[in-house]
Symmetry: C2
Subunit: 231 residues, 2 copies
DNA sequence: CGGCTCCTTGAGGTTAATCAATCCTGGTGG
DNA sequence: CCACCAGGATTGATTAACCTCAAGGAGCCG
């Protein structure tokens, strides 16, 4: 059911059934196979998206073919929100896996906000979180690659172990799985696969993590956190 | 008059007199002398700010004393908006010059949004612009310093020559002034003063710009744009 | 068994940070 | 008016990070 998918997204959780129904009336489900572009930078934009299943990347083309990944999007997150107030998309997006999305036309959504201010407030919250995250990304890119990687791994474990706002942050099991190929991860970290590979080895050699394919375990949380702040 | 200052800010321009009056009732004017911090990362947050005069920088401390400047804020822009939905500030801010700001308490502002959805829509627009800008910053940091500098200079001229939405983009006079010390500019570009100095020289030697203190002129717009896209 | 793609490893080159002088420029006091 | 400082800005030499290019694995599917 559309309404159920919408409710699962943090941005829309907590809305009343009536509000969700209004929202459901304007969204359009779409499917994108892995690798498929969803929109491209400078495309004229009349909708943004909610990802219900799969994985999507937001990125910029760097002229010489390399790509700068801005963020990875997981289920329940929105992307392209900024076009609510622009005529064109500010970046490219593509499905990394087979993905199901809801297309949300901007015009209808804007009028809905005026009718249900609560909705605007919710979206503001989402965008605030995005801003905070991007602040962090800017900071990240000024750090050396191993520190960047350490921060990424720590973040990965942190969000895995705080599934809701309800419980304490668990720090027991520090085993996680890389959610993407190393190629994609390197792009996400703003580096190349070769450098990522070496950085991972370095962390493993320093006994900060144990690595086995895409599965890894944090052995020395404190040491990793220290590294994550190195200039 | 407070209302006049508010109306001058793009985020609040276009609101009705009544809405502006309501807003004026909750904001608190503040003054910060040059160099003074306005808030620090992780401070508990109950307000965001509109800059009415002066210049403010948003930055992160990089542990070893170096700072990562996230953005520079000019008159009419807001900063700290993201705390509308967080309990703590995600970065530091400090006045770069003597600055006048309006402090906008989050609680009052949130209730005002529910009453005047138009206001929420406006703030969404502002945050969308910020997001787009930060996307660009992430892209920037993956480019070599001269390209980053070229993009900055082009942006500086562009915004100078498009004062409103009303006119064509002027490309005639390409003389601009660096708005900050070179030290601050280097931080804004994610580099150090030495490297900035060399990059500026390089642009001047290539006849792309002419430089005289803080005044500069773009001599070869096309060449500069080409450089701005180099990996 | 080939032919993939992805990842890893190694060698070399380039960019930019670091360290250390030197040079301005504006302000101060003689 | 000039000597003198202090800060920022520049320049040079050195070093470290990391990208590039090139060459192997390692798994996977035909």
């Amino acid at each position: 059911m559309i309404v159920d998918d919408l409710r699962k997204a943090p941005v829309f959780a907590g809305l009343t059934d009536g509000q969700l129904a209004e929202l459901a009336a304007i969204v359009e489900p779409r499917h994108f196979p892995a690798g498929e572009p969803i929109f491209a930078q400078a495309d004229t934009a009349d909708a943004f998206y909610l990802l219900s299943g799969g994985r999507v990347k937001v990125f910029k083309e760097l002229r010489d073919g390399r790509t700068a990944t801005i963020r990875h999007v997981g289920p329940g997150e929105t992307f392209g929100e900024s076009v609510l107030f622009h005529e064109t998309y500010p970046a490219n997006t593509a499905a990394m896996e087979d993905s199901d999305v809801y297309r949300i036309p901007t015009v209808a959504f804007r009028t809905l906000i005026l009718k249900e201010p609560e909705l605007g407030l919710r979206l503001l919250g989402t965008m605030a979180r995005l801003l905070t995250m991007l602040n962090r990304r800017v900071e990240d890119l000024l750090l050396p690659v191993p520190a960047r990687l350490a921060r990424y791994l720590l973040e990965l474990c942190a969000e895995k172990h705080s599934p809701g706002e309800d419980g304490l942050v668990m720090r027991g099991s520090l085993v996680c799985y890389l959610p993407t190929s190393k190629r994609e991860l390197a792009a996400r970290l703003g580096t190349v696969p070769e450098t990522l590979s070496r950085a991972l080895n370095q962390l493993a050699r320093s006994k900060l993590i144990a690595l086995d394919g895409e599965r890894f375990e944090i052995l020395d949380l404190h040491g990793l956190e220290r590294l994550a702040q190195k200039t």
